[in-house]
């Protein structure tokens, strides 16, 4: 889901911050009567947020402080255990591993998504024949349903019949058990996730590059700076605000990835690809017997981590708008 929700960011950003400054003064007469009208127009959204965001969240907190079994669900008499589920989760040996897996998955994905996305954005900065069409085609991985990408990658990386191993064998390299060996499973899901995340990085970084005025480059090339030099002394420093936004947003979205890992490896083998999100999903829905209380505890820990980075993102964005 991380990538599928990612498009939320770029189209929403160009909101002109300057709009409210001037025209607001001009229509005090209308404001008086329209205060309640405004509320009426926003009411469906507010009710919606309360019913379908706030309430599910409260329910998930409620799940995490009770001991819900399937029977307790039906009878509605789950035992209150306070922070018991959290203690169990935090002291579980899987917690450290899931946290480390999450860190590896997120950091490795982000570094390569960003580097490749930036390289491509620089490549596309000056238009060339067919550049618009080719750039549009780069969006494809982003738009495909994750079950489609996940199953395609799973079949490509299949040990015996996958095209990747077949290609490696023609180069004389041995068979790699991408998805079935704990040594390579993380690498496999990271590769798929990098592929999924490149479009998002390309789109945001490309639009960031378009905002760097061309005369900066002209001045740089007059000073005799070559392409490599221009990148490091013009593009990269001037793109830093956009880079920060891209990476932070990518971080928040990558933390909550479930689909792609679950479809490819189900968190295995031997928990080698179990991230916090996967752990939570597996406890809750991965087995026949839903164990929702510990799952909710893991999920709520994940929310806290996501929100910490989320607030860093929002602060960074706000500071950039002010400057």
């Amino acid at each position: 889901m991380a990538i599928s929700t990612a498009p939320a960011a770029p189209p929403a950003r160009p909101a002109p911050a300057k709009a409210p400054a001037e025209p607001r003064r001009r229509r005090p007469g209308r404001l008086q009567g329209s205060r309640w009208i405004a509320v009426a127009f926003a009411a469906p959204l507010v009710i919606y947020l309360l019913a379908f965001y706030a309430y599910p969240l409260i329910r998930s907190i409620d799940l995490s402080v009770h001991d819900y079994t399937v029977r307790a669900f039906v009878q509605g008499n789950a035992e209150f255990v306070g922070f018991g589920n959290y203690v169990t989760v935090l002291t579980s040996p899987l917690f450290g591993q899931a946290l480390a897996n999450t860190a590896v998955f997120v950091v490795a994905s982000l570094v390569f998504q960003y580097a490749i996305g930036l390289a491509l954005a620089v490549f596309f900065r000056n238009s060339f024949r067919l550049s618009g069409v080719i750039r549009a085609l780069f969006l494809v991985p982003w738009l495909l349903p994750l079950i489609v990408s996940g199953s395609t990658w799973a079949w490509m990386l299949n040990s015996d019949n996958g095209v990747v191993n077949s290609a490696l064998q023609t180069f004389g390299l041995g068979q790699i058990n991408w998805l079935t060996s704990p040594d390579t499973s993380m690498l496999a899901v990271v590769i798929a996730n990098i592929w999924l995340g490149i479009p998002f990085n390309l789109v945001i970084l490309y639009s960031g590059l378009q905002n760097i005025p061309t005369d900066v480059y002209e001045a740089a090339s007059l000073d005799g700076a070559g392409a490599w030099r221009q990148f490091w002394s013009v593009t990269f420093p001037l793109l830093r605000p956009v880079s920060a936004i891209t990476l932070l947003l990518g971080l928040v979205y990558t933390l909550k990835v479930v689909d792609i890992i679950w479809i490819m490896t189900k968190g295995g083998p031997a928990d080698s690809t179990t991230t916090l999100a996967i752990w939570s999903y597996r406890e809750a829905f991965g087995t026949g017997q839903p164990d929702l209380s510990p799952a909710a505890a893991v999920g709520n820990i994940l929310i806290i981590i996501a929100l910490i980075f989320g607030f860093v993102y929002l602060r960074t964005q706000r500071r950039q708008e002010q400057s």
Binding site: T5, P14, P16, S60, N126, L144, W155
Partner: protein, 272 residues
Amino acid sequence: MTARRPWWKTVLGIVFIALMLFPVYWMVNVSFTKTQDLRLSPPHLFPFDATLDGYTEVLRQQLPNLGTSLLIGLGCVVLTVVIAAPAGYAIALLNLRGGRTLNFVLLVAQMIPGVVMAMGFYAIYVRLGLLNSIGGLILADSTVAVPFGVLLFTAFMSGLPRELLQAARVDGAGAWRTFVSVVLPLSRNSALTVALFAFLWAWSDFVFASTLARNSDLKPVTLGIYAYIGNNTTQWNAIMATAVVASIPAAILLIVAQRYVAAGVTAGAVKD
């Protein structure tokens, strides 16, 4: 002018996109491969010896699932636009008190992991009997699109020229009239963008479907594919054929909406 544009960049660009889209090509290639050829080593790189067996399998087994997905997608589109457009209007043009707070809440809402939402919905739906229902899935899926929709509508509508709204008011139009006959028609491209993404996300959803509709008779197509994989099936041509069919909305979005996405973004940014 075009003569000075380097052709080598075009060639390089085609090489890059070929590498990037290889998995997509491979999906199509496998979908046309005969079942007995699936385990060939090395595999056929081109579908010269093509078969439509995979696609007949899709028609035989996945049609109801595709219908379910279509229904969920459309329901999600309606729900999202109906909630998001008026809210965007209130925040952008009616100076809603607490509009900034609402914007902030929407940004934070987008950061909440889907797993947690799914658990909350599960607990609620068990009580209400909404598990395994299309309505329940539409509601859950719309939570991905509604915050995006409100933010997009707000961004676009705050770029609309105020003179137009004042003219409408001078003509005696109330807030509702202005919304329906001035703001909405002008926001057509944003509405289309929101609708297309709402549809695509609902169509692609796996987490909500696999948690809230696990035992449903009416499965969305994502669960149809997932059930194939889970069965340890040997029919990867059928899986990939389903995947190709499930990718059609993405392809349509890319062809049709690319323009509208760009139009929505620039229209919001350029006007002042």
